[in-house]
Subunit: 404 residues, 2 copies
């Protein structure tokens, strides 16, 4: 039997480690012959654009490099598979390719949208009695997937956010005049990544002094009162804010992707303008932007190791006959941190979002509580010993011409 | 004799290493008793806000931590000293404090504005025959100081820019549709830091495909033609642009600091809008923002070691009787990279800027030439083994109450 693996959705620092997990585990299995990488997610299967990964990843050194390379080495997509009842031709196309390539299992590394694809494909294969297993392997820096304790990619992004927030605090505190610094953080509609900026509290730093997440109602008046209160206490006030907080119409660009998600941006600039106009002090906003999801030079070893393990577990599930399911983490202990990998039905994960629990927020709703720390801290632990190449990290890449 | 040291201007990753250099070298000198840190640059001397550094930095471990802590641990300022002929009272104030504290040498770590202060103070002390040596120790991520081969702080910022550019390239290349990514980089009126994003060319990466620096005339029409040409060759076009390129009035915010420098911002957003309107493809802009100057988790060991050495050399110059001078690097060889530390008159450095030489640009003026690589590469080499504290880098800090 051959297998295929694809990567989908927004890049993370851990999505290539999950690919390594699938690849390395498959190499161990005598029943698995070719390991195909599907280029640009499920689109690669539709277009029969598959590459033989054994010709690309040729050594354990290659696998180590791939583990420290951010983003999706096989490319990605935001393709939404239609319902088969509406458009069966795409499914027939996929089936044809899978049969011709003798593919018995397909592994899809992605977020909640990709789990929609896992669910739809596996249902269709059951319907037509095609024995191809479909397994979802989770990833997203947003940490907003249901069922799983956390998602691969989140721990590295959280480590980047906490580290960078600490550096921005140092940078923002040097002048003698009062100032406000607003740091805009990703996470779509969930505040997980923004909450991780408050990890510094666990190490005695009072900053960020204010944290706004989408889980609480945002009021501009309340925000300005909060800022003025903190300015009375601190010379340099540092604020973390989620890209997805609720603000007046028109602030966000409003462009919508194929899954109906708005591309969010501009919250930091909006709040900066608000402070400048209404308070009139020195103020600036900083967008951590894509660096949050691609700064693999600062990844969490816990995250990268787990991402590889959950990829490998996905292969074992498929070999045991599972399909239409997603591998997930269940946390057994915070200290010593212990997780086990299980699987769940893709329908429990697809198209759903998981939000910060109420107890992770302070009663005033403008900061993160101590309760969040026991959850967050284990996920950012450990560093990968980076392979450097003349002063910059070495990356594993596939030639552009092969991916075209 | 006692000495005083202060930090000034915009933060860097290396300015605390230079402080360690002054401190450690002074500890070795039996002629030096107290080592005072002046809070918020020269303002600390004017206000007699000096702290005894020996009570703060108590071990070699503290010094190691300080070396890996970004920004100015003693605070900073953008204070412009008036000419003494216009306002002698500030100078008399300073002299009073220096005499009362028995300070025989003052070390000012800063950029070209701070060297203006070094020049003015030393001239005044000569005028009134006060035996206090004043030495400038250079720093700036902009690398725009004259005389010196390069400035402490630049190498770490360049390493951050090159590493982050490589990660953004990975992040930007995953989708199958054509796209343009614009990365806005600091450096005021000089293109040194933007040029360092092209270090990737030395390792075989064709990106960034276009690089715009303030040293060449910018034309929007020419830019759009360049982008279209690159789009014909590459699916994901990556562009590096200096914050200081010449664009239409109103794009930059135009706020001016006390030295008459404009605060630059918004170039990336301006070009993003230009591409969206005139070409109409997927486009985004990313501002590397203050992370360029404070990401000490990714500093250049060469830079940090040199920053400490040049701080120590400043102490030796003062002990030899020099005043009104700045310690500078002179490069002897690119390979093996060899620098020596000399000193130059502060007037040669103060209020001047150094620009990218013509030969570091391609003939078309829209990219960086191979000639720049021999200069840039040695500066980003080596990594500091970071001390971590529960998943994030440990920093050395002084209590806010002491700095108030």
């Amino acid at each position: 039997m051959n297998i295929a693996v694809a990567q989908s959705g927004g890049p993370t620092c851990a999505i290539n480690a999950s690919l390594v997990g699938v690849f390395r585990e498959s190499l161990k299995e005598p029943s698995i012959d070719a390991i195909f990488g599907s280029v640009n997610g499920v689109e690669g299967i539709i277009r029969d654009h598959l590459i033989d990964l054994k010709t690309m990843i040729r050594s354990n050194e290659d696998m180590e490099l791939l583990r420290q390379t951010p983003s999706t080495v096989l490319g990605s997509c935001r393709y939404k598979l239609p319902d088969w009842q509406e458009d069966e031709s795409t499914y027939q196309n996929i089936v044809q390719v899978l049969k011709r390539r003798q593919i018995g299992a397909f592994f899809y590394i992605g977020g909640n949208d990709s789990m929609d694809t896992v669910q739809k494909l596996s249902s269709y294969f059951k319907e037509i009695e095609l024995d191809v297993k479909v397994m979802g392997i989770p990833k997203t820096i947003d940490n907003d997937l249901c069922v799983t304790d956390h998602t691969p990619g989140f721990g590295s992004a959280a480590k980047y956010v906490a580290t960078t927030m600490q550096e921005i605090i140092r940078d923002s505190s040097v002048y003698s005049i009062p100032s406000v610094t607003i740091v805009e953080i990703m996470g779509r509609h969930a505040g997980w990544l923004t909450a991780s900026s408050a990890i510094l509290h666990a190490y005695g730093d009072p900053a960020p002094h204010l944290v706004y997440v989408p889980e609480t109602h945002f009021s501009a008046d309340r925000f300005l009162r909060d800022v003025e209160q903190e300015m009375a206490k601190h010379k340099a006030v540092i604020i973390a804010v989620s890209e997805g907080i609720e603000v007046p119409e028109g602030v966000q660009s409003g462009t919508v992707d194929v899954f109906g998600h708005k591309y969010l941006s501009g919250i930091g600039k909006y709040l900066e303008q608000l402070v400048r106009e209404k308070i009139g002090c020195k103020v600036r906003s900083i967008e951590l932007n894509v660096m949050q999801r691609c700064s693999s030079h600062l990844c969490s070893k816990t995250d990268i190791d787990e991402a590889e393990q959950i990829g490998a577990a996905g292969v074992q599930c498929a070999l045991r006959g599972e399909t239409g399911r997603v591998v997930v983490f269940r946390r057994m202990h915070n200290m010593p941190y212990t997780v086990v990998i299980e699987s769940a039905d893709a329908s429990q994960v697809a198209n759903r979002e998981k939000f910060l629990p109420h107890e992770f927020l302070t009663p005033a709703g403008n900061n993160i509580s101590e309760a969040a720390m026991a959850y967050l801290l284990p996920l950012i632990q450990g560093e990968i010993k980076l392979q450097m190449n003349g002063g910059i990290p070495a990356h594993f890449t596939i030639q552009e011409s092969v991916l075209k």
